[in-house]
Symmetry: C2
């Protein structure tokens, strides 16, 4: 997936920097700017997070020049379906289309204030819409770039990164915790002997719901043994 992010008429160096940072976070490196305030890019480059993406960013005088080597051009817009003449896809459906393309895909983001112009949009094969609320559609530029790129890299990730200490306690270890608990409850007077079966079952279900790890079961046994010892003094 060769994706180029094109910012058209960005004004705020912080937003250019934020867009570049999200690109680097998600593994995209080709940033192009059209009609950027010269000073905005310079300021962004001097920011703390300036990195490879900003250093290598290229500036163009027109959208046509910026997209000349791309095979698919997608515009992002907060407009509604009735407000444009071009095909419109939600981010998930659009993301799937982008991932299928062989060749470079340009994704255009408009200025902070006005978004893409009709002229900018006419260069696009279709438009992409991040599913924001009807009542508050317009996103911050850096956030829109981050969310769009996240959608492109989202699938195919190894999802469960780690669940350490998740080795479950054996039922025997769990039941020992249950036994100690019953002892402690009896010693403390919470439960009066003879212990009826419904109390035993209630406690066992309680213990099962804890989904204890092996290590936690050991910890519980130690804590309860100490409590019982003290109660018996």
């Amino acid at each position: 997936m060769d994706v180029t992010v094109i910012l058209v008429s960005p004004r705020n160096p912080l937003n250019i920097g934020a867009a570049a940072r999200a690109m680097s976070n998600f593994g995209f490196f080709d940033l192009r700017l059209v009609h950027a305030y010269r000073v905005a890019l310079d300021e962004a480059r001097s920011g703390v997070n300036a990195d490879r993406v900003l250093t290598e960013a290229r500036e163009f005088d027109s959208v046509a020049d910026a997209i000349a080597d791309c095979h698919l051009v997608v515009g992002t817009s907060g407009l509604g379906p009735r407000e444009t003449l071009q095909p419109f896809y939600g981010l998930e459906a659009g993301g799937r289309k982008i991932k299928r393309v062989k060749g470079r895909v340009a994704i255009l983001f408009g200025s902070e204030k006005f978004g893409l112009s009709n002229d900018d949009m006419s260069h696009c094969h279709w438009l992409l819409r991040i599913p924001t609320r009807e009542e508050h559609r317009s996103m911050n530029l850096g956030q829109a770039v981050a969310v769009t790129l996240y959608e492109l890299i989202r699938t195919g990730q190894v999802e469960l990164v780690s669940a350490p200490e998740s080795r479950a306690a054996s039922v025997g270890a769990q039941d020992r915790v249950g036994d100690y608990l019953l002892d402690a409850l009896t010693e403390s007077g919470y439960v009066k002997p003879p212990v009826d079966i419904s109390t035993t079952l209630k406690l066992r279900r309680l213990i099962r719901r804890m989904k204890m790890s092996e290590k936690d079961a050991g910890m519980w046994q130690g804590m309860l043994r100490q409590i019982i010892w003290r109660l018996k003094q």
Copy 2:
């Protein structure tokens, strides 16, 4: 899905504002701040995008107070699996877990510089990791909030928002365009009569690949008729 966003020790008013804006974009309204610089929240509230989320944001002195009414507490972290003692899920898997919860879910985001502390993390049932590149894990705070909330609202959206004028041209209309094109090519000398079958087939496949809409087919016919008329002068 009742989700509370908790920013722990945020320092930059722009980031607080950006987090609030993403929340509003994606339909989440409960923002809480722990150990925020008083001045940061005030400044964020005076920003242009201040809205319901920022106005109603609440401040707390401790993580424990901020999460007291929540049923699940999830921390976000750029740490790797070997750097923490808690269970760790990628954003997609974690998002599915969050969506299944009955009751309020708190999602904690740490400070811009240091992320969540070990003490903050000990309040969490598990940790969430946005799948950033190994070499550049740390995200901008506002962007991390935006991406996380997007994942939570992502599914269940109507994906194809609109594809106006997508009514495909009939094969007859497409073939009329092909006929006109062949006429124009012949008149212009690009194709020499008698036209061989391979040229005809080549043109037909070209026309099919255009996947013309009804309206576009009409437009092509008009344009080509005009060209032919002029070529015959």
